[in-house]
């Protein structure tokens, strides 16, 4: 068995200092160009796997608008690349594709600020991280303490974070600082299968494994004082970053949809270059079914991150011996980075409702947009970008050019540059936990694989990725955060 060549050798034409084009002439059937936001530092990564070919494949989808887009943290996914953005027009036969969202529906991040400084936390940091991994469910096969009956799960998926407000597990401010106020309208929980409910019953409030984590961080640099002040962030301040999604419930909703849609392309006369792009018109029974179930799973994910934050607050209160609200543990913002949403955008000179798929890509609306919470509308939407556990994460601001260039979207992280097997090989004979500790990061993981596969070297440099989206005007730098402690699966 020989390894096939997995690099991309097709065209990548330089558009400007931060963007490359795959012309639609590259392959017959492409309806639009592919556009990849990257610079000369990242373009070799882009060529190293099949992700760029996937950008070209997405350009085949019926109803696609403007271009098939990819962010600088692009890497090889299944069907769609990670970092992919695709908007389709339902009125022009535009499709919705579960592969454009991914298995982890509404995977996303939330940032919690505190009124603590590095000096407050440093003496108890090890205790804090140890308590987090003891008290917050993390890792494969770890159920949580919040178990929901099928009826309760359906209500949670219909109401989103509001359901947890009523149960005393969220505040009104938490809800207000979550994308879509923690509830995407028109969710159809009754379309979520029994198997998905079974997978999700004890997983709301659990981190999971893979690249998910909870990280204690300190703000080490502020680049935009005005926006940082609006987000309640200052140099030296302790924050907590939470990265997780819709857990087994969401994976099952995606799996169910992929199975249900197997015959849809033939039924609707859609020719696809890769069957993982399986899709149906947004305005079809199959398309509406998927969107209804996907929104329900997305609301579950908002609740998952809310329950994780609630448990983090309890751990901080226990270790620091003060109620969490006196520690100033308020939610800055919660953003989805795997989702499909119907949004209004201007395409050409026409204002229209389009179905925006963001797979490993984050909404980044600029100042004044009506979907931004009142408290942030004057400055712009906070965008949270997790990096890797050794270097940095970023808070950005929805950029002035995001609406015209990327359907109001920016990157979602650093993006992998090493496969899991390559990272494991690279970790052989090393102790990643000790290496991180020498670099000032206390890391705790439930599995050996967790740290080896997710080691900093497995990711691109998030500073470079963020620099590209900043220069491209998709989102601008507000604050850089440095990791202090992390728990992983």
């Amino acid at each position: 068995m020989t390894e096939p060549d997995r690099s991309y050798s097709g065209p990548l034409e330089r558009v400007d200092e931060c963007c490359y084009r795959i012309p639609k002439s590259y392959r017959p059937g492409m309806r639009v160009d592919g556009l990849i936001f990257a610079d000369e530092r990242l373009i070799e990564h882009v060529r190293s796997d099949r992700a760029a070919e996937q950008v070209a494949n997405v350009a085949f989808l019926p109803g696609i608008q403007a271009a098939s887009l990819a962010m600088p943290d692009i890497h090889w996914g299944y069907g769609f690349c990670i970092g992919g953005v695709c908007a389709t027009d339902p009125a022009a036969g535009g499709v919705v594709s579960p592969g454009g969202v991914g298995y982890d529906i509404n995977c996303g991040v939330r940032l919690v600020r505190t009124n603590l400084t590095l000096a407050d936390v440093q003496p108890v940091l090890v205790q804090l991280v140890n308590q987090l991994i003891r008290d917050v469910p993390v890792g494969v096969g770890q159920g949580g303490r919040h178990v929901f009956s099928p009826a309760e799960l359906r209500q949670l998926m219909r109401e989103g974070v509001e359901y947890l407000v009523h149960r005393g597990l969220a505040t009104d401010d938490d809800r207000a600082c979550t994308e879509a106020e923690g509830c995407i309208a028109d969710a159809r929980p009754e379309l979520v299968s029994d198997r998905a409910l079974a997978r999700g019953q004890d997983q709301c409030g659990t981190v999971g494994a893979g690249n998910h984590f909870i990280e204690v961080q300190v703000v080490d640099r502020v680049e935009d004082p005005l926006a940082a002040s609006a987000f309640g962030l200052a140099v030296g301040q302790i924050c907590v970053l939470i990265h997780s999604g819709s857990r087994g419930l969401g994976y099952q909703v995606c799996d169910d949809a992929l199975r249900a849609l197997r015959d849809a392309p033939a039924k609707y006369g859609i020719t696809l270059p890769d069957r993982q792009l399986v899709c149906a018109p947004v305005e079809s029974p199959e398309g509406r079914h998927y969107l209804g179930a996907m929104r329900a799973a997305a609301n579950y994910a908002f609740c998952n991150r809310q329950l994780l934050m609630w448990q983090v607050r309890e751990v901080f209160a226990r270790v620091l011996k003060k109620p969490w609200n006196s520690l100033g543990m308020e939610l800055v913002y919660d953003v989805a980075h795997n989702i499909a949403k119907i949004e209004e955008h201007t395409v050409g000179h026409q204002r229209k409702a389009v179905c925006v798929h963001r797979k490993g890509a984050t909404r980044a609306f600029p100042a004044g947009h009506h979907d931004i919470p009142d408290r942030y509308r004057a400055v712009g939407q906070p965008v949270i970008i997790p990096g890797d556990m050794g270097r940095a994460s970023w808070v950005l601001l929805g950029g002035p050019r995001s609406l015209e260039r990327s359907f109001g979207t920016t990157c979602h992280g650093a993006g992998r540059c090493l496969s899991r097997t390559a990272a494991t090989r690279a970790a052989k004979g090393r102790n990643i936990q000790h290496e991180l500790e020498r670099g000032g990061v206390i890391a705790r993981s439930r599995s050996r694989e967790g740290l080896a596969e997710e080691q900093p070297a497995a990711y691109k440099d998030v500073d470079v990725v963020v620099d590209v989206v900043h220069r491209a005007g998709l989102s601008t730098k507000v604050a850089r955060l440095r990791p202090l402690g992390v728990i992983k699966g």
């Binding site: 090889w76 996914g77 298995y103 198997r195 494994a209 992998r416 097997t421 599995s447 050996r448």
Partner: protein, 147 residues
């Protein structure tokens, strides 16, 4: 690249590289053995080492379909569901393919954190790079699981 060679000849799976996920490539003398080996490969990814799983209990599965690729995908998905919903870990598999689908048995035990360590959370078995084909010596397949 991890390779695993069972006692009988000409059967093998290996885990191959995929940027964010893990791929499985299987070679076997027959479709039935290939499907059984794919089961071992899946639980090697989940548990890291299937040797820690004791074959104390048996579960049966019936999967409908005649296309070998969909059959492999649906069989893997059923096995994954047995882990994600009922927390079952398996190490031994027997598969019979018939005219309308397959009948499979899997032997293992429920996950017990005191006994088992787990390596990966497999979100799903994907259609990406899914291929099942005849080869000069039997059958071979590739599939990618989402981590």
């Amino acid at each position: 690249m991890r390779r695993w060679q069972p006692a009988y000849n000409r059967v093998m799976y290996e885990v191959f590289e995929h940027t964010a996920d893990l791929g499985l490539r299987i070679v076997a003398p027959s479709l039935e053995v290939l499907l059984a080996e794919a089961g071992v490969g899946l639980f090697e990814i989940i548990a890291g080492d299937v040797g820690q799983i004791r074959p104390r209990m048996e579960r049966s599965f019936d999967v409908a379909g005649t296309d070998p690729e969909w059959l492999l995908l649906d069989w893997m998905t059923e096995l994954l569901a047995a882990f994600t919903v009922e927390k079952m870990l398996f190490r031994e598999f027997t598969v019979t393919v018939h005219s309308t689908g397959l009948h499979g048995t899997a032997r293992g035990e429920p996950y017990d954190p005191a006994v088992h360590t787990l390596a990966h959370e497999v979100k799903a078995v994907t259609q990406h790079e899914l291929a099942v084909r005849r080869s000069a010596t039997g059958w071979e397949a590739t599939l990618v699981v989402d981590i």
